[in-house]
Symmetry: C2
Subunit: 813 residues, 2 copies
């Protein structure tokens, strides 16, 4: 074997078994008095009884009658595996919340851990307050059990219906990044975060441990992770539960944490170990915070974390019919799946449930006895009542400077400016005006995306080491407002946590790599959509995603950096929660961003190029255009008062530029053509009225696009998205959509456009091909266009740049 790992700590445990008396880093077996020990154990047992009840029972909730098959749900669904470890942790934190008056949010990372948190919410009384029919009596308990994993009821994750949850955990990997997002700018908050050892194998989770390098102990709260070494996933051991103790310890030191181990299965010694350990962690957190806050000097401590190793399905039967259950993957889901068909299993279940002695904890009416109820904290200190988890309710509005003050002065056809630079000033001032309520997130691309101006108001948070070079334009700070790590997953997770806990933010990213977080954005959409169905949930701020470094300007990055398909993913989500904007120029970008910042409970996706562009609309015109979301640009049209021969339409800034140039070419080459120019800012305007709140009626659609004229539509993304949005419009067969066709390399902008037929010449030729009756006039214009295209293309190839001279074709005005 290799040189041993010799991370030297005060832990000298070599066993990696989950069984036996507690072994722990912190040696103190007298933290709890006998009474406290009993209370905590009783509370945990009551909670575990509820967990099993949720999995199995639809009647006879307190087992007053002998358990029979008819008391069981017809289909047994739900998960037992991580419940005990989570309940154990939750209960121990309750003691400290009361002792130190802590503000703690519980985040449940392991998959399908809902019974643990829901049972706690029920015991705390919060569940019955929020859902009065799930009252604290026998009938309420019966309903509480029955609804779980039952059609029309609630799911097996910490879904939006779960009081105290802002992290569902349906898709694994985001518990730590969500937790950090939640505690940023919440200096008193502790996010007690259960991390599944299965979840830990995911990439997003594996890198999110590094979030400590971005947390300021003065202005931010703390994350207290409990890595739950539950040992197994669905059908496999977990990696972290099967490596040596020293590897595990080294790993977390390496990630920048101080790991405290609590391991074993014997309840009473485990309670003492956990009580002592959790208390030490809380004191360390408060100690670091005190030190930093009193001195005014932020630093990066090795924040404490707990490694809790307990058997999967802990407190269940170790074996059943000669096969391992507790402490094995068989305990993952329903631990005894055959209770309905095997009477001996039914009996086993009954005995097991009764072993938790529910009748000691619930009185005749089914109410938790007061002696036990007092173990929980009170009011909003109850973790399932923490207001932070219902972030919309504590959200302060974003204070927005007037975006009109950042207007680009536009001389139509003349002003050539980058749309981002004024946006950067707007953003800078938003940061300035909202010093604890807004952050900007991005994966190392903020400067590259031409938004570096924001650093004047809020530098990049950095708690890593500093070098002398950093003084030379590094823009790093211990306390800042911009969050950058090269992990789209981490910045998205931070932003989600930040927004869900009541604040505001923006993610800026290269367009091609936003696909990395397709799945996260999907899950966030699902969360905020379901929240709309939960009465007590208040709307959170929208999650804003600004995409730039777009497909059309990837001359030196090439084919790997060309993928505008994120819009397709977003467009599949519920129309209640998704919005997509493609502002054609800088003033439209400002107007759109202002609108997005004011909105709530959406995922807003904004696509805008960061390079120089011709600017078209002054601010007044931009506001009007963006408010409508789609419109005819009269100044670029010559069909006033008449039927057009063709509609030239565009969506996206680069495509608009080319469409305008195509329009100019057509008007030069075929002067008597009647051309209508249409621009789309708000993509969902195109969809049928009933399919999205923004969808135009057919009458509106026809008034703009006609239903019988050719429409040459130049689109930023893959062309098929336009077809799927418009398939049922009358006249949809007249739509010829140009867009990215997955053809590219390290092309000049013009060459890339030509490859994909989104260039001015292809568009103009496309129009001529579709307009009937042009005869020789059309053929001759077409030939000229083709020659121009070839000429431009050759020069573009030759020079390696979009040649200056093609600007002559730009809309002359």
């Amino acid at each position: 074997m290799a040189p041993p790992v010799v991370a030297q700590t005060d832990v000298s445990i070599e066993s990696i078994s989950a069984y036996g008396k507690a072994r722990s880093t912190v040696k103190d077996d007298k933290t709890l008095s006998d009474e406290e020990l009993k209370d905590i154990d009783d509370y945990m047992r009551a909670s575990l009884y509820l967990c099993l009840g949720m999995l199995y029972l639809k009647k006879n909730p307190l087992l007053k009658d002998p358990l029979k098959v008819e008391h069981l749900k017809a289909r047994l669904l739900g998960h037992w595996g991580s419940d005990a470890g989570q309940v154990f942790t939750y209960v121990h934190m309750n003691r400290l919340i009361k002792k130190y008056d802590l503000d703690v949010l519980f985040i449940s990372g392991p998959g399908h851990g809902a019974p643990a948190v829901i049972s706690q919410s029920y015991l705390e009384g919060v569940y019955s307050e929020v859902y009065p029919d799930k009252s604290q009596d026998v009938e309420g308990l019966r309903k509480f059990f029955k609804q779980f994993s039952f059609p029309g009821g609630i799911g097996s994750h910490a879904t939006p219906e779960t009081p105290g949850s802002l992290h569902e955990g349906g898709e694994l990997g985001y518990s730590i990044s969500h937790a950090f997002g939640t505690v940023f700018d919440h200096p008193d908050l502790i996010a007690l975060t259960m991390v599944g050892d299965g979840e830990s194998e995911t990439g997003p989770l594996a890198t999110s441990w590094h979030s400590t390098k971005f947390l300021n102990p003065i202005t931010d709260g703390a994350v207290l992770p409990v890595l739950h070494l539950n040992g197994y996933k669905i059908n496999n051991p977990t990696v972290l539960a099967r490596i040596s103790h020293k590897e595990l310890e080294s790993l977390f030191y390496g990630y920048g944490w101080t790991p405290y181990f609590v391991e074993g299965s014997d309840p009473m010694t485990m309670h003492q170990a956990m009580a002592a350990t959790l208390e030490k962690c809380v004191k360390e957190i408060r100690g670091y915070q005190k030190k930093a806050r009193e001195s005014g000097k932020a630093f990066r401590p090795f924040w404490p974390m707990i490694v809790l190793r307990s058997p999967k399905g802990w407190t269940g039967p170790r074996t059943v019919d000669g096969h391992y259950l507790e402490g094995y993957w068989r305990a993952h889901q329903i631990p005894l799946p055959e209770v309905a068909s095997k009477p001996e299993h039914l009996k086993l279940l009954e005995d097991w449930m009764k072993s938790y002695t529910p009748d000691k904890y619930f009185d005749k009416e089914g109410k938790l006895i007061p002696e036990l109820a007092k173990v929980a904290p009170e009011g909003n200190r109850r973790m399932s009542a923490n207001p932070v988890a219902n972030g919309g309710a504590i959200k302060k509005p974003l204070r927005l400077p007037d975006f009109r003050d950042y207007s680009i002065e536009v001389k139509p056809g003349k002003t050539d400016a980058p749309s981002m630079s004024n946006m950067a000033l707007f953003l800078r001032d938003i940061i300035q005006t909202n010093p604890t309520n807004f952050r900007l997130f991005g994966p190392d691309e903020t400067e590259s995306n031409k938004l570096g101006g924001v650093y004047k108001a809020g530098k990049k948070v950095w708690l890593g080491e500093y070098f002398e070079e950093d003084e030379d334009g590094g823009n790093l700070a211990l306390a800042g407002r911009t969050m950058e790590i090269l992990s789209e997953h981490t910045v998205e997770g931070w932003l989600e946590g930040y927004v869900l806990s009541g604040r505001h933010g923006l993610l800026n990213s290269y367009e091609p790599f936003i696909h990395i977080i397709d799945s996260m954005v999907n899950q966030h959409c699902k969360w905020i959509e379901k929240c709309l169905e939960v009465e007590w949930r208040a709307k959170v701020a929208s999650l804003n995603i600004l995409l730039t470094a777009t497909v059309w300007r990837q001359d030196h990055n090439g084919f790997t950096h060309q993928d505008p398909g994120f819009l397709d993913v977003v467009a599949n989500k519920s129309p209640e929660v998704v919005r997509i904007y493609l502002p054609p120029d800088g003033n439209c970008l400002l107007s759109v961003m202002d609108h997005c910042f004011r909105s709530a409970n959406y995922v807003n996706v904004i696509v805008a190029d960061k390079q120089n562009h011709l600017q078209y609309l002054d601010m007044e015109a931009a506001i009007e255009h963006c408010t409508k979301g789609v419109g005819i640009w009269d100044w670029a049209s010559n069909d006033q008062g008449e039927e057009p021969d063709v509609v030239m339409a565009s969506c996206g800034d680069v495509p608009t530029h080319e469409s305008l140039a195509a329009t100019a070419l057509l008007r030069e080459y075929v002067p008597d053509l009647k051309i209508r120019f249409v621009n789309v800012v708000d993509l969902f305007k195109l969809i049928a009225h009933g399919s999205h709140p923004h969808g135009m009626t057919d009458t509106e659609f026809t008034a703009i696009f006609t239903d019988n004229k050719p429409v040459i539509f130049n689109f930023h993304s893959y062309p098929w998205l336009i077809h799927r949005l418009t398939f049922n419009r009358k006249g949809s067969h007249n739509l010829v959509v140009h867009g990215y066709n997955e053809k590219g390399n390290i092309d000049t902008p013009l060459e890339l456009a030509i490859r994909n037929k989104t260039d001015r010449f292809s568009l103009a030729m496309g129009a001529l091909d579709k307009i009937p009756g042009l005869g020789n006039k059309g053929a001759s214009a077409r030939e000229k266009l083709l020659n121009e295209q070839i000429k431009c293309k050759n020069e573009a190839f030759h020079e390696g740049i979009d040649p200056e001279y093609i600007r002559k074709w730009v809309w002359p005005n």
Copy 2:
């Protein structure tokens, strides 16, 4: 500060600066003789000269003439940042390849590192062999320089055009997982893998270090990672370069590696340190392999890795105009961007380039002098000529058992069987028959996906610790054929590496979470598409993705597990490389899988449910149906020889079941209706003929779907995908597509279908709504259907299951 990390090793370096004389774990400054030292340094300098040449020059490649602006490319593109560190590593490995006759593949992880590997390929002569116009003379060199990051030329990543590359590195995060995939079942291969410290921040990379728990030292080769602590990303320091030495060391011990440090900037001492360190690593690798192979006992060593800390832009100017360049993020891309406008910068560049003394290394004709050429290995030992990187050329065909032998015996309308179970037997025997040429990959879901039968032929590879429980159905083995870690990124990366290096495989995954790797699949599609344009690249096996646990059967997982939108992402990729199949039953699944396994250079996506289903087609009929890809099912139609009143169409197994039931309902309720039943297996059959090789002609399309009858199309995924595929078909306005509409919860299958209108009743009612002239007959049938639907729905709600009695509606036959 917190308790210090005290990972105790023989490294006692506290500085984390990249500057100064070499500091290294291995202390041996005499590994290289004076001559070797000189050779290696010269070779590196020649290579770095080429790197700068690629960035800047289009003429005067050897600077025979004084450097002038007209020698420069008009637009300067490309990256200098990581070049020196990569060249340094590459050159040192060359020495060991020759000394020990090693088989080494170089994988370049850091972004935009192409100049390093391409310059090496040129020096090795491989580049000129592959691209004769880039010959080893002045004109060849000029072309070699000019093509780089130039339109029509090659990109700045290790693109498919790069000899020796199977990892482009355009999107960051996959170098380690690709490397492992490459060395599985290649026992003699060493994948020398440069890992960028920016890349290291990504989630996929962060978890992929754990791949060591899945590598067998007897049957697999080795990965030798060189973590390049280059210090900076585009505009930020990297996390790993700014944590303490001990944290870094602990982290990699924790990941299961033995980190050897080589740090500094002084070339000569760095050469000695790297030579000694790399040699130690290679010897350790060979030692572990020898021990395992001689004893026949596989174990998990702490494999060696190197942490190379060198300044970003190493060997460039430290400062320019008072700003840091080398050793700072400014060295990321073009180090001196203003050479064309600032004469003093031009002079600086000239001096800098000449400081590498190219005229000492290249003779008058521009050829590398023989004394230096001999430093490289020969033939296929040259890393840029390693045949593994052109995996298609060494690929052995997969030996496939006859899939017909696994047929499900079908009694139409009676056989109710899971489609996966026979697939599992087919897969099992493929594994058996191809013991070193095929692996099955999945994120802990193989058993859950009902493919556990494969373990009989190839258990799950597991090099972690073993517990006694594992004997009880754990199916773990030191040497196995199934690869499972709960990281979709890692298994996908392994599979990509495995396929690109000439082998075959299949990924099985839950449908909802395949979005996690949208971006990886996009990038793989782009890679294999570009490979088609590279003459010397042979086609690799297709990358096969089997999706199950589909959207329609998520009763206990709920809304988070419902997303069939991966197909939209795949459909955006080039038609040359993507194929999507939705077999309606078990025999079709077998036929489709056989086809996919025989195919080359595609990404095949196969969607099939894992639950019990009615089985429709015997094997002969299945083969015929799948070969056509779409067809009319005569046995379910009654329009023979006549025009149908309606076409009932389906794509996907659950939707087909419902469509058939709807057809049965219609035929029962409105017996004189003429119904045609169509099923689509091969999704791209629907698209226009010219848009995809599988697309039907309009004539074929009309022959099946008609162009004037209502088509009630029940689709597995989001309905809009069908609209985008068929938008330009005549009669597309008659298509009514039912599919997943993002509406769901923990619903019974029927309830979920009703919510999304994909159930039999909604389909049948939809048909009645569209068929003209039905009058009262239609209205009365519609009412009956609605009542049936309500009744079923209520019972479904009540019982929590798809009630048994609805089976009476199943296609009776």
